[in-house]
């Protein structure tokens, strides 16, 4: 698995922990249940924290703690499960989350542009995926009809200014 963003491939700074691995130093990625169980210890470490949400876990469960996180990973258990599109949107536009939102699991090239619109900015991709693929995905449709989390001007707004 490679990690890609708009700026290209990137090393994953976060160590993904299972629920029973002892906490190491440095940035860690934990499940929602582990975060909730060990919240105080995690926050006290003063190192970046990432939380991985399953597709049936709303980020609203994180409450104000969302602002203590540097990363939220949203899982696609299968590409047909589109709940994470709403979770990302909520993280960005309602909860004001400024950290990284990463797509993980089973998603298609053809979903990446939608993911970016709702707030994703990093993707776990297979080794044959290239930065060109990412930019092709972003460039397929130039304009959008509805506001989302990406702040793009909608076609309606462009019409007014045209």
């Amino acid at each position: 698995m490679l990690l890609i963003t708009v700026d290209g491939f990137r090393e994953d700074a976060f160590v993904a922990l299972s629920d029973d691995t002892p906490l190491p130093d440095g940035a860690v990625l934990v499940s929602l249940s582990r975060f909730q169980a060990e919240r105080d210890a995690l926050v006290a470490r003063n190192a970046p924290i990432g939380v991985r949400l399953k597709s049936d876990q709303s980020p609203e469960q994180l409450g104000e703690d969302v602002h203590r996180l540097s990363l939220v990973v949203l899982e696609f258990p299968k590409f047909r499960d589109g709940r994470a599109f709403s979770w990302a949107r909520l993280l960005r536009t309602r909860l004001g989350f400024k950290g990284e939102i990463r797509a993980a699991g089973d998603f298609l090239f053809d979903q990446i542009a939608y993911q970016r619109r709702v707030g994703f900015d990093a993707w776990e991709v297979a080794s044959n995926f290239t930065p060109d693929d990412l930019h092709r995905a972003f460039g397929e449709i130039s304009n959008v009809y509805q506001p989302s989390a990406d702040g793009r001007k909608t076609i309606r707004e462009l019409r007014v200014s045209a």
Partner: protein, 553 residues
């Protein structure tokens, strides 16, 4: 009618190229069929029994003559010379080759058409009253709002991988011709006590395996809030719907699992949050801008007199002509239910000829109804005899709109991969059985709706008489349902009992109708008599033949 500007045109052109790339990846093997499936479905492309089927969107059922000619051309060039108009007011082509699809989409784009979201687990083509903008009944034309919803829902990034499909209809008349109450979500244009126009929003209706009538989520949503409200409903659905059982993933299941009160509470919570952010507010100028596209044609000042003519013409007038908002004008239904024909089918030649007729008689648009007929919305009454004569030449003059032979039928096992039984031959049999026009007129309004499987594309739950094809050990059987309605008095038809064999079903329908004729009180439609008497007497008579056979055989 709506016309694309540079943004709409570019959007559809880019979407076409995007799909061309997806098809190339499928043909090269880069995409598996499993991965390709949701992508092709979002472009209306099904893999059916014999070939690919392509479903073209006809937003709110409105077409220009230029668009109709293009649909004829596609039928001729890429199909076998026919198109099938559906209960979602779309058109389907049943004999399409995958390699041709990108070219077909490019041809459609030339006339501002596309196949976006005509299938798949996303927001589907938005439908509306086929008499919109022409009927004197409506508060206002529902199509501007339908167009606004079409744009908002087009490739909506949050809602293209929903748990299941999501169908929206818009109406504005007390008489519901768009089956609003059977939709995942319906918007009814209403006026409140202060005389302000706004929207009543319902959700949770649907047919299929588990039919439900939609329930009111909000009695009155202000105009500028409507997209925020619709987005709230969709978000609650996307977040909270089940994903573990394909048969329980429509919004109707969610609404009925958590209860209407809880559903309203969740929607209200989302709605408040979305409103607080403000980005979905619909400015009055935008509504006015879109509404201007749908301004009615300049009606000529005409005498209100209705021309008379031959007995055939008078019969056609009786059922196929409807009141218009402008003096001297009429709405005309073109029945696609000529006795013996496939309900909803039109040939390329018929479509071309209708396009010519529209141009010749200055009829700017034609509509598709969910009952699989076409409608000329703005006809000068004085032109009616000439138009009728032309329709007769085209075999499109059946005087049966709303009568017992105006049957809705899905494509069924003749085409569809999902079907358990054939629908088209059953519709043809019943239509032939009741071909006598005097008898049809005596029976009056009676809506028969036939589906070839539980998915209910033929709206059998909403038929005054519904017929559902089922498969019993490889043999087709037909269940009879009575008492459904898809209109403002919506109800779900009740299943009578064991199914009838293919050769028995038309007889059973005939006996049921015979009992109605015997028992009806003055002015009662079939539906009214059924509602008064209940299932029992109809059931007794329907199975008469089977009982006689059991006792005498």
């Amino acid at each position: 009618m709506y016309r694309y500007d540079e943004f709409d045109a570019r959007f559809v052109a880019e979407r076409t190229e995007q799909f061309r790339h997806q098809v190339e990846r499928r043909l090269s093997g880069a995409l598996t069929e499993d991965q390709f499936k949701p992508l092709r479905l979002m472009n209306g492309l099904y893999l059916q029994l014999h070939a690919y089927m392509l479903r073209v969107a006809i937003p709110y059922g409105t077409l220009s003559s230029r668009q109709l000619r293009k649909l004829a051309h596609i039928a001729r060039k890429y199909d076998k010379g026919f198109g099938h108009f559906t209960t979602r007011t779309n058109i389907q082509y049943n004999w399409i080759k995958l390699v041709d699809v990108p070219d077909i989409l490019a041809e459609l784009a030339e006339v501002e058409m596309h196949c976006i979201q005509t299938s798949g687990n996303c927001i589907r083509n938005v439908t509306a009253d086929q008499f919109a903008g022409a009927t004197p009944e409506e508060i206002e034309d529902p199509r501007p709002l339908a167009e606004i919803i079409r744009q908002w829902s087009s490739l909506h990034p949050e809602f293209v991988f929903l748990a299941r499909k999501f169908k929206i209809a818009v109406g504005a008349s007390p008489h519901d011709r768009a089956a609003l109450l059977y939709h995942d979500m319906a918007v009814e244009i209403v006026r409140n006590d202060e005389g302000r126009t706004g929207y009543k929003v319902l959700a949770g209706g649907g047919m299929g395996r588990t039919p439900y009538i939609a329930q009111v989520m909000s009695d009155f949503v202000e105009r500028e809030d409507i997209l925020a409200y619709l987005e709230a409903v969709l978000r609650v659905y996307n977040q909270d719907s089940r994903r573990d059982n394909i048969h329980k993933q429509r919004i109707k299941i969610l609404v009925n699992a958590i209860g209407v009160e809880e559903m309203r509470t969740r929607i209200a919570h989302e709605f408040d949050e979305i409103k607080r952010l403000g980005s979905l507010q619909l400015p009055a100028e935008e509504l006015a801008r879109i509404t201007a596209y749908f301004a009615p044609p300049a009606f000529e000042p005409l005498a209100d007199a209705m021309p008379s003519g031959s007995a055939d013409f008078e019969n056609w007038k009786k059922s196929n002509i409807h009141a218009h908002r402008a003096p001297g004008y009429a709405i005309a239904t073109i029945s696609l239910k000529t006795i013996g024909q496939v309900p909803g089918d039109a040939s390329a030649d018929q479509m071309d000829a209708l396009a010519d007729l529209m141009d010749e008689f200055a009829i700017p648009e034609i509509r598709v109804s969910h009952e699989q007929n076409l409608v000329l919305p703005h006809v000068r009454r004085k032109d009616l005899p000439a138009i009728f004569a032309r329709l007769q030449e085209l075999d499109l003059a059946a005087p049966n709109a709303g009568l017992i032979t105006d049957i809705i039928a899905c494509p069924g096992l003749d085409y569809c991969d999902l079907a358990n039984a054939r629908s088209i031959p059953v519709a043809q049999d019943i239509a032939k059985r009741f071909a006598d026009l005097k008898r049809q007129q005596d029976i009056g309004e009676l809506k028969i709706k036939i589906s070839g499987c539980i998915n209910a594309c033929g709206h059998h739950h909403a038929g005054h008489i519904g017929i559902l094809g089922v498969d019993k050990k490889g043999v087709e059987f037909y269940q009879l349902l009575l008492g459904g309605s898809g209109a403002e008095d919506a109800s779900i038809g009740q299943i009578m009992g064991p199914g009838f064999a293919t050769h028995e079903i038309a007889d059973a329908v005939e006996r049921v109708v015979g009992l109605y004729l015997k028992e009806r009180a003055s002015g009662e439609r079939f539906l009214d008599t059924y509602r008064r008497l209940g299932m029992e007497p109809f059931k007794n008579i329907a199975y008469q033949e089977q009982m006689d056979a059991a006792y005498n055989g």
